[in-house]
C-alpha cells in the first residue's frame, strides 16, 4: 500500500513537471532521441535489405541464371555440332571436334557450379544430379556414333539419334527445371531489391520525424518568444539532407536494378532461348540429312522449333523485340534467321528430289569455314548474350555502389541530428536552471 502511494505521488510530480516549460523541453528532447533511434533503425534496415538484395542479385542469382542458360546453350550446341560433324563422315574437321568438346566441358563446369548453388531446392538438386548422371551416357553414345561412323558402319547414325533423343527428351528438360528455378530466384531478388514497402517506410518515418521538429520549433517560438532555435534548425536541415540522400540513393539503386533486368537479364533470357532453339533446329536439320531420306521425326521437330522461334504471334523474335531497345538489331537477327531458314529450305528441296548427297555436300561446304548460316546466327546470338551480360554487370554494380556510402552515413548523420537538436533544446533548458 505505501508503495502504491509512492508511485502515484511520483506520477503526479511527473505530470506537474511536464506541464511546466522545462518539463515540456525535456519531453521534446526525449521525443527527438526516440525519433532519431526510430528513423535510424528503419533507414538502416531498409537500406540494408536493399543492399543485400542487390548483392544477392549480382553475385548469386544472376550467376545462377547464367550457369543455367549456359548449360542449356552449351549442351544444345554440342548436340548440333555432333550431328553436323557426323555428316562429314569419318574425317571430322578439327575445329568442329574441338567445338563439341569445348561445349561438353563448359556444360560440365556449369553443372558443377549449379550443384553448389541449388542446394536449397529439392527439385533443382534432383535435376542437377540427373543432368550430371546423364551427361557421360550422352557423351558415350556420341563417341560410339563417331567410332561407327569412322568404321563406315550405318549403325553410327542410329547411335547419334539415340544420343540426341537422350539430350532433347531427358537432359534438357532437367536443365529447364534449373533454368526455371534460377529465373524465379532472380525475379525474387529483383522484387525485394526494388520493393516499394521499404521506401514508403523510410518516407513515413522521415515525415514523422520532421513533423516532430516542426512542431517543436513552433511551440518553442511561442513559448520562449525566440523565433529561431539554431540547434533544432540545423538538425531539421540535416534530417532533410539525410532523407534526400537516402531516398535518392534508393531510387537510383532500384532504377539500376531495373536497368540490370531490362538491358541485362531479360535480353540474356530471350536471346539464350533463341540460341538454344536455333541449335535444336540445326540438330534436327543435320539428323535429317544423316538419315538420308529415311526420317520423318526430325523434319517435324525442325518445323515445330521454327514455329516457336518465329511463330504465329511472332515467337521468340517478337519477345526479343519487346525487350530490346534497338529496332535495327532485331532486324539483323531476323535476317540472320531468315538466311538460315532459306538455306534449310534449299536443303529440304534437294532432299525432296532425292538429291540427299548434294544436300549433304552443300551443308558440309556451308559449314567448312565455320560461317554457315547456322554458325553466323549462333555467333551473333552469343555475342549479344555476352553484351547483355556486361550490361547486367555494370547496372548491378551501380545498384550496389548506390547504397555503399549509406552504411556509415546513416548512423553518423542521425547521431549528428540528435546531438544538434539536444544542444538546441539544452540551451533553452539552461535558461531555467
Amino acid at each position: 500500500m505505501p508503495q502504491t502511494r509512492a508511485v502515484s505521488a511520483r506520477l503526479a510530480r511527473l505530470r506537474l513537471a511536464s506541464s511546466t516549460t522545462p518539463g515540456k523541453l525535456v519531453a521534446v528532447g526525449i521525443g527527438v532521441l526516440l525519433g532519431a533511434v526510430l528513423f535510424g533503425l528503419v533507414a538502416i534496415a531498409v537500406v540494408g535489405d536493399r543492399r543485400d538484395a542487390a548483392h544477392a542479385v549480382s553475385s548469386d542469382s544472376e550467376p545462377l541464371l547464367a550457369h543455367a542458360v549456359g548449360l542449356y546453350a552449351s549442351l544444345s550446341d554440342a548436340d548440333a555440332t555432333a550431328a553436323t560433324t557426323f555428316l562429314t563422315g569419318g574425317l571430322e574437321p578439327l575445329a568442329r571436334r574441338q567445338r563439341y568438346t569445348a561445349d561438353l566441358q563448359a556444360g560440365a563446369r556449369d553443372a558443377a557450379a549449379l550443384t553448389a548453388s541449388v542446394r536449397g531446392s529439392v527439385a533443382a538438386s534432383e535435376s542437377v544430379v540427373a543432368v550430371s548422371e546423364n551427361l557421360p551416357v550422352y557423351a558415350g553414345l556420341v563417341e560410339t556414333a563417331r567410332a561407327d561412323n569412322r568404321a563406315g558402319l550405318p549403325v553410327g547414325a542410329a547411335y547419334l539419334r539415340e544420343a540426341s533423343a537422350l539430350l532433347q527428351t531427358a537432359i534438357l528438360p532437367d536443365v529447364g527445371v534449373l533454368y526455371a528455378f534460377a529465373a524465379g530466384r532472380l525475379q525474387a531478388g529483383y522484387s525485394s531489391g526494388t520493393g516499394g514497402f521499404g521506401l514508403i517506410a523510410v518516407i513515413a518515418v522521415a515525415v514523422a520525424y520532421l513533423a516532430v521538429f516542426v512542431l517543436a520549433q513552433r511551440w518553442l517560438a511561442s513559448a520562449t518568444r525566440r523565433r529561431v532555435n539554431d540547434g533544432l534548425l540545423a538538425a531539421t536541415g540535416l534530417l532533410v539532407l539525410l532523407s534526400a540522400w537516402v531516398l535518392v540513393a534508393l531510387v537510383f539503386q532500384q532504377n539500376a536494378l531495373g536497368r540490370a533486368q531490362h538491358s541485362g537479364s531479360d535480353p540474356v533470357e530471350a536471346l539464350s532461348a533463341t540460341r538454344i532453339l536455333a541449335s535444336r533446329a540445326q540438330s534436327d536439320q543435320s539428323l535429317t540429312l544423316v538419315a538420308r531420306g529415311g526420317d520423318q521425326q526430325h523434319p517435324a521437330d525442325f518445323d515445330a522449333v521454327i514455329l516457336a522461334l518465329t511463330g504465329a504471334r511472332g515467337g521468340l523474335l517478337a519477345l526479343e523485340a519487346s525487350v530490346s531497345h534497338n529496332g535495327t538489331s532485331i532486324k539483323r537477327l531476323a535476317s540472320d534467321l531468315n538466311a538460315y531458314r532459306a538455306q534449310s529450305a534449299a536443303l529440304d528441296a534437294l532432299v525432296a528430289q532425292g538429291e540427299v548427297e548434294r544436300a549433304v555436300q552443300e551443308e558440309i561446304a556451308a559449314g567448312a569455314g565455320g560461317r554457315s548460316p547456322a554458325d553466323v546466327l549462333d555467333a551473333e546470338l552469343a555475342s549479344r548474350i555476352s553484351a547483355a551480360q556486361v550490361s547486367f554487370s555494370s547496372a548491378a554494380e551501380d545498384a550496389r555502389t548506390a547504397l555503399s556510402g549509406l552504411g556509415p552515413g546513416i548512423p553518423l548523420t542521425v547521431l549528428a541530428i540528435a546531438a544538434l537538436a539536444l544542444a538546441g533544446i539544452g540551451r533553452r533548458l539552461r535558461e531555467y536552471a
Binding site: P154, G196, N255, S265, G294, Q297, A304
Partner: protein, 325 residues
C-alpha cells in the same frame, strides 16, 4: 508544404518501382518456347493386311525379249530410248541398308547389292555403269516416285504383293528375302516361338511388327522409327531379338560380330524392282538384263561380293523367274 514535397517524391518513386516485374514475363515466354515438345513419329496406320486379292501368281512378270538391244542402241519410241536421250538412269534406293543399299561415309558413295544390280541396268542401256543417278526414297515414297515418273525404277527391298501390283509393275524377283530373327551370339533363342513375353524390335508400321504381334506365345513388340535403331536397342540390351528381312539382318550382323541370324523363315519376302505400269517394254528390258546377269554368273558374283561373307553358306542359286504375257 514539406509534406506535399515528400508525398510527391513518394509517388514518383512508387511509379518508378512499378517498372520491375517483367522478368517473369520474359522467363515464362522463354521457358514455354524451350518446352516445345520434341516431335515424335506418328505411327502410320497399320499397313492393310495383305488383302485376299488374287492376281494369279503375284511373282509372274512380263517375258523378256529374245535378245536384248545392244547397249547404246535402244529401239526408238521405247522408254529405254527416252532414258538414253536423258543421259542417265534415275533409280530410287534406300541409303540405310548396310550391304544392300547404303551410303558409305568412307568413300562418299552409295553402294551395295541392289546398287550393283541397278548399275548393270545402266550398263545395258549406255554400256557405262556410271550413267546412273541414285535418289533416296523413303518406304512411304517409293511407289509414288515410280508412279509420278520421278524415278525410272525403284530397287528398295520392295516385296511383291498383289496389292502393290495394282500401283506399279514389278520385274522378275531379283532377291528372295525372308523375315527372320537376329539375336546376340550367346542367345539360345532359335525361333519366334521361344520369344513369348520377351522384347522383339521392328520398325514402326512395318509388316514385320504385325507378324510379331500375331505370333503365339506373343512377344512384346518394340517399335523404333528407323531400322538401324533396332541394332542400337539390341546392343544396349533393351531387346532380346530383332525381326526383319534377312538382308537387313545380314547388314546388322556385318556391323556387329556378336550377333547371329537364326530361325526358320517367318514369312517369305520376294523383292522385285518397281517400274511404272506405263512402261511394259522397260519391264521386259529389265527382266532381260536380270536373266543375263543370272546366266553370266554376274548375279552370283555380286551376291558373293556383298553378302557372301556374312551368309556363311555358299552362294544360293538366283531366284527363278516366272513369266506370263
Amino acid at each position: 508544404m514539406s509534406l506535399r514535397t515528400w508525398s510527391t517524391i513518394a509517388l514518383a518513386t512508387l511509379a518508378l518501382s512499378g517498372c520491375a516485374g517483367t522478368s517473369s514475363r520474359v522467363s515464362r515466354a522463354s521457358l514455354s518456347a524451350l518446352a516445345t515438345p520434341v516431335a515424335t513419329v506418328s505411327t502410320p496406320s497399320r499397313p492393310t493386311p495383305p488383302a485376299p486379292q488374287t492376281c494369279g501368281n503375284p511373282l509372274a512378270s512380263l517375258t523378256p525379249p529374245a535378245t536384248l538391244p545392244a547397249p547404246g542402241h535402244m529401239p526408238r519410241h521405247t522408254y529405254m530410248a527416252a532414258i538414253a536421250r536423258r543421259g542417265r538412269l534415275v533409280a530410287g534406293v534406300d541409303q540405310n541398308s548396310f550391304l544392300f543399299a547404303y551410303f558409305n561415309p568412307t568413300d562418299g558413295q552409295i553402294e551395295g547389292f541392289e546398287i550393283d544390280l541397278l548399275k548393270q541396268i545402266a550398263k545395258a542401256i549406255f554400256s557405262d555403269e556410271t550413267r546412273i543417278a541414285f535418289k533416296a526414297v523413303t518406304t512411304a515414297q517409293r511407289l509414288g516416285a515410280v508412279q509420278s515418273g520421278g524415278v525410272d525404277v525403284v530397287a528398295d527391298a520392295v516385296t511383291i504383293t498383289c496389292a502393290r501390283r495394282r500401283q506399279v509393275a514389278f520385274s522378275a524377283v531379283y532377291y528372295n528375302a525372308a523375315q527372320r530373327l537376329l539375336v546376340p551370339r550367346s542367345s539360345r533363342v532359335g525361333s519366334l516361338a521361344a520369344l513369348g513375353g520377351r522384347r522383339v524390335c521392328a520398325t514402326t508400321g512395318s509388316t514385320t511388327i504385325v507378324n510379331i504381334e500375331n505370333a503365339r506365345p506373343r512377344p512384346v513388340p518394340y517399335a523404333v522409327p528407323q531400322r538401324t535403331d533396332c541394332l542400337v536397342a539390341l546392343q544396349q540390351g533393351r531387346v532380346d531379338a530383332i525381326s526383319s528381312d534377312d538382308p537387313i539382318l545380314l547388314g546388322f550382323a556385318a556391323q556387329d560380330p556378336n550377333v547371329k541370324v537364326v530361325g526358320p523363315v517367318i514369312s517369305p519376302q520376294p523383292y522385285g524392282m518397281a517400274i511404272s505400269l506405263a512402261h511394259p517394254e522397260f519391264v521386259r528390258f529389265v527382266n532381260g538384263v536380270l536373266a543375263k546377269l543370272r546366266a553370266d554368273g554376274i548375279w552370283a558374283r555380286i551376291y558373293a561380293h556383298w553378302l557372301g561373307r556374312y551368309t556363311g553358306a555358299t552362294v544360293p542359286p538366283p531366284p527363278t523367274p516366272v513369266y506370263s504375257g
